[in-house]
């Protein structure tokens, strides 16, 4: 018998996503992902000064502020063919890296770990054994028996109070929760510690960007951080050293805690390295340029079709011609007018509201396609594309992750295993470890460049009288982000943001081909349709962020998160 489950919304993600699945014989047989909210804020940009667009775009989403700011200035610079100084590249890169480290850490511990870790099992743990286990797999100094005991006491206190607070509504005791109580405690103690380290990473963003959550140091043409090594008021030696200290602390946490925990949890759930693959076309744009002209990058980009790593095609430039020409958006199943897939520069956003109809229109998200195909984006795509190209840093951390998973699970894990729900978490941890190394590297690039006497931070943009088009790309924490701008006489005529979650949360297209969320849910086991933890695990593994929502406090007190089973 077919059962229909509607989850509206998925909990613990930043946005408003609805998922419908059909369940047959305890597994998902069909799935639909919808965004239930209007995403048309790009229209606000029409007629505005392109030099100020980034101030607006960084308000698209409260979580992905810096990434939309950066993609915006890059789009305008691309339209102007404006190079930026090397210092500006490195300062921007340091912001991106630290934002990514903050974001990945929060996602793993605070937004998705509790899909795998049963908090209410923690009182049964033995802090001494937990500590011994932790110290056997990591040199981290925060794994003492006393620290484990303190974390356990916190949970005991919450459980005894009867007020679960932030742990209300978890699927505790679900048959899919299979960690040993000691492993649950270990992960939870790091959940507590992670809060401090994600904050340190965010502090670096603030020190370079002027403020968080909204950075203030970008310009079309570079950055506004005046550089003078001897001055405390500008970006000087003292501030650069403080940044380095913070980054070193974050690096230790990422490499000794986050990376190790992700490998351990993957090893304890080996079946989830086989579930949730879905769309096996992957795409990433190159990022972290190493020179002013952005000719070489520390994060490689490209695309892979049908999961065939040998077929990888690299993108040479940030906005490679293949990428520029290849992207379209289809609205067959989205609440917008139009039939033909349109290129983002010609993109239209005219709503056509209907009821939710799975075989007709059912989402506010458009269906982006690359060369007509749905693409999975995010850390998994980036890791696979780097790995397939033999990128040394990607190989180093991926092999280390696979070795660790193999050692803990006693079963050989391969690169193909990461094309899965758990693999997305693993890939994000691999990417975080890579970023932590690159943080030091780009900090050194900046120091060396300043030491050579180069203090340039900005090139002046000059707008021609006619129409120009540009695309700014960024490999953001959730994957490939692109901003597409058309400027006419110095004013914005059209602006479209194709965000990572649009690629992944995409509805079906005109050929009926499902998007990555939808495809990844097929054949997911469902132990209990009333508690669809498995669906939530797979969706959370993408790190969804709908980036579109209207943010208003609703005092009606109605229980909003609903799971309906029909």
């Amino acid at each position: 018998m077919t059962k229909r489950i509607t989850i509206d919304p998925i909990t613990r993600i930043e946005g408003h996503l609805r998922v419908d699945v059909e369940v047959e014989n305890n597994a998902v047989s069909d799935a639909w992902a919808s965004c239930t909210m209007w995403r048309g804020i790009e229209r606000i940009l029409q007629g505005r000064d392109p030099r100020e667009a980034w101030l607006f775009t960084q308000r698209f989403c409260g979580v992905c502020t810096t990434v939309h700011a950066l993609a915006s200035v890059r789009a305008v610079e691309d339209a102007l063919k404006l190079e930026i100084p090397a210092n500006a590249q490195y300062i921007r890169n340091l912001i991106l890296i630290n934002h990514g480290l903050h974001d990945h850490t929060v996602h793993f511990y605070h937004l998705s770990a509790l899909d795998w870790v049963d908090v209410l099992e923690i009182p049964k743990a033995d802090p001494a054994k937990t500590s011994a286990l932790a110290e056997s797999i990591s040199p981290w100094t925060g794994n003492s028996r006393n620290q484990m005991k303190a974390a356990q006491d916190k949970v005991k206190g919450v459980a005894a109070s009867g007020q679960l607070g932030i742990f209300t509504n978890g699927y505790w005791g679900h048959p899919q929760m299979r960690l040993d109580p000691n492993v649950n405690l270990l992960a939870f103690s790091h959940y507590l510690q992670a809060l401090e380290y994600q904050r340190k990473a965010n502090q670096v963003v603030g020190m370079l960007g002027g403020k968080t959550p909204h950075i203030q140091n970008l310009t079309v043409g570079g950055v506004s951080n005046a550089i003078n090594l001897d001055s405390q008021a500008t970006l000087g030696l003292e501030r650069l050293e403080s940044i380095r200290v913070l980054m070193d602390e974050v690096t230790s946490f990422v490499q000794q805690v986050y990376f190790v925990d992700a490998c351990a949890i993957a090893a304890f759930y080996p079946d989830w390295l086989r579930i949730g693959g879905g769309v096996r076309n992957y795409m990433a744009v190159p990022d972290l340029p190493m020179d002013a002209a952005a000719t070489t990058f520390d994060l490689p980009g490209g695309y892979i079709l049908d999961g065939n790593l040998a077929s990888v095609k690299p993108f040479q430039r940030a906005a490679d011609q293949t990428f520029r020409d290849g992207v379209t958006e289809d609205v067959t199943h989205a609440y917008y007018e139009g039939r033909k897939p349109l290129h983002p520069w010609r993109g239209e956003t005219v709503p056509q509201v209907t009821e939710w109809e799975g075989d007709k229109k059912y989402s506010w998200v458009k269906a982006p396609r690359f060369q007509g195909k749905p693409m999975q984006v995010g850390p998994l795509a980036q890791v696979l594309i780097g790995y397939a190209q033999g990128h040394p840093l990607t190989r180093k951390w991926t092999d280390k992750a696979l070795d660790t998973v193999s050692a803990v699970s006693g079963r050989k894990a391969t690169i193909h295993d990461i094309q899965s729900t758990m693999g997305r978490h693993l890939a994000r941890a691999i990417r975080a470890a890579m970023l932590s190394e690159l943080a030091t590297r780009h900090w050194q690039f900046l120091m060396d460049n300043i030491a050579r006497g180069d203090t340039a931070i900005h090139n002046n943009p000059l707008f021609p009288s006619g129409e120009i088009e540009g695309v700014g790309t960024h490999e953001a924490p959730r994957g490939t982000l692109s901003h597409w701008v058309v400027v006419d006489g110095g004013k914005i005529r059209n602006y479209q943001a194709v965000v990572p979650s649009t690629w992944n949360a995409s509805p079906r297209d005109n050929a009926g081909t499902p998007g990555p969320y939808e495809a990844s849910l097929l054949r997911n086991p469902i132990a209990d349709p009333e508690k669809p933890l498995e669906v939530i695990r797979t969706i959370h593994s993408f790190d969804p962020c709908m980036a579109c929502a209207c943010h208003t406090f609703d005092s009606s007190g109605m229980p909003h998160a609903t799971v309906r089973v029909l």
Binding site: G62, L111, F553, D554, P559
Partner: protein
């Protein structure tokens, strides 16, 4: 010294949702506060809201609310009232972040004791940088309510002789002067 944050939250691109940032910037442009008081336009924070509230003595959040009241009506909500809501209110992403952040800060033992949400009933949340007239008309009243709250917290402030630039940059439509 008491640590107090007055946080304007909301999306300035979505009509009346921008009232929080607007009020906080107007407040900062017209008043000077004693040491320890911070005013911030935080946009639409998610769980990173914890970083801004951890260890505060008092938190005043200014935000648009949907409570069925006439647009522009101001209603105050206390901490207990906010925490009664389920943390899975993920349909409106930052209200859960406000509540979840408070709950998480509680778990970490860093939650401010005093939390007050100054809620302003909105009318329209469509994409625009403009406030609807009824909500724009409530700005001065919202500022007075915040000053009363500060009085009750025994916090000193004085009015500037002249309004400083509130830098509500988003309200200026299509800036000019391109060489």
């Amino acid at each position: 010294m008491k640590r107090i944050l007055i946080a304007g939250v909301g999306n300035i691109l979505l009509g009346d949702d921008g009232i929080g940032p607007y009020v906080v910037r107007k407040l900062a442009a017209n008043y000077v506060f004693e040491e320890g008081v911070e005013l911030e336009d935080l946009g639409t924070p998610a769980l990173d809201f914890i970083d801004h509230i951890a260890g505060l003595d008092a938190l005043i959040v200014v935000d648009a609310v949907k409570n069925g009241e006439a647009p522009g009506t101001i209603v105050l909500y206390g901490k207990a009232e906010l925490l009664r809501h389920s943390p899975t209110l993920r349909m409106d992403p930052h209200s859960p972040a406000l509540i979840e952040s408070l709950m998480a800060a509680d778990l970490f033992g860093q939650s401010p004791e005093n939390v007050i949400l100054v809620g302003i009933a909105g009318e329209s949340y469509s994409p625009t940088c403009a406030l609807s007239p009824a909500v724009a008309a409530a700005v001065d009243a919202a500022i007075r309510r915040i000053l009363q709250l500060l009085d009750s917290l025994d916090v000193g402030f004085f009015r500037r002789f002249e309004e400083a630039d509130p830098s509500i940059w988003w309200a200026e439509v299509g800036a000019a002067d391109l060489a």
